[in-house]
């Protein structure tokens, strides 16, 4: 085999190994189930106790972020994969989303956005964030981002639906749970 052919074959092999690594480096199922629960209660609370919504998310979002980091770290170690750089990328992405949402609060306080429309705007921002996370971090988040966009449109165009936010939370929780089930199935298959 000539040197250039050998070099080409070696690089093709390395590329295939890297591709395998990228395709199996996904968030663990537990993180999806955690956020399915947080999301369901976080949206249902808008129908049940709207005044407590802000308080709920102030506690649940950072707590969920910390728990996700712990679960991700533990799952990575169990899988034999430990990357501080990847952890930082995840943390920066999701912390950026949280900061973005916090920075939208002044729009609410200055009445630029109506109170009723604030969760709709947040849904759209979360959808965008899930989409970019799907493109750069974990492909399984892309379908969830489409569900988020669907929920956003539902809340915009079907405003009179009874228990609108509970239905929205249930749809989002279901999509996250399905993504989690796929993650769990993949782990079982790779084991």
């Amino acid at each position: 085999m000539t040197d250039d052919k050998q070099a080409h074959d070696d690089l093709s092999y390395v590329r295939s190994v890297l591709h395998r690594a990228e395709n199996t480096a996904e968030s663990p199922a537990s993180i999806y189930f955690l956020w399915a629960a947080i999301t369901f209660f976080g949206f249902a609370i808008i129908d049940v106790a709207p005044k407590q919504t802000g308080f709920y998310w102030m506690i649940a979002a950072p707590l969920g972020g910390v728990l996700s980091a712990v679960l991700g770290h533990r799952a990575g170690r169990a899988k034999g994969h430990s990357s501080r750089r990847e952890g930082v990328v995840h943390a920066m992405h999701w912390a950026g989303l949280m900061v973005g949402i916090v920075l939208m609060v002044p729009l609410l306080l200055t009445h630029v956005i109506a109170v009723d429309d604030f969760p709709r705007l947040i849904l759209l921002v979360i959808a965008l964030s899930y989409y970019t996370a799907g493109v750069h971090v974990d492909r399984r988040l892309i379908p969830v981002s489409f569900v988020l966009v669907g929920c956003y449109l539902l809340t915009v165009f079907v405003r009179d639906l009874p228990q609108l936010w509970t239905v929205t939370g249930a749809i989002l929780a279901a999509s996250l749970a399905v993504a989690g089930l796929f993650a769990a199935a993949r782990v079982r298959r790779d084991a």
């Binding site: 034999g80 994969h81 430990s82």
Partner: protein, 104 residues
């Protein structure tokens, strides 16, 4: 072409060792079992290649217990990172030379 071949590292000419170094540069620390799954090599073959990389000072191994099971974690050393970069640059030049007009 001779100059490009000189830039290649003998140890990294084996594609499994090359793949291991690339993976460790990308993911920082990987366990033996994870490397085995990714490279699709046998225990014996992967172990021998990792030992070679370790002997040459290109990767370092640490042993820990994860969920009460012993796990060998591999990481690329600064020397390994530098050697890999020079090797990949050399491979790139060989492929670029091969693509130039006038090459058989």
């Amino acid at each position: 072409m001779k100059h490009e071949l000189d830039a290649l590292d003998r140890v990294l000419e084996h594609r499994v060792r090359l793949a291991v170094c690339v993976l460790l540069t990308r993911y920082e620390r990987l366990s033996f079992s994870r490397l085995k799954a990714l490279t699709d090599e046998t225990d014996g073959n992967l172990g021998a290649n990792l030992r070679k990389l370790e002997d040459e000072g290109l990767v370092a191994v640490t042993k820990e217990f994860v969920d009460r099971k012993p796990v060998s974690w591999y990481a690329v050393t600064p020397k390994g990172r530098k050697t890999l970069k020079a090797h990949l640059d050399g491979l790139g030049r060989i492929i670029a030379q091969a693509g130039k007009p006038g090459k058989d």
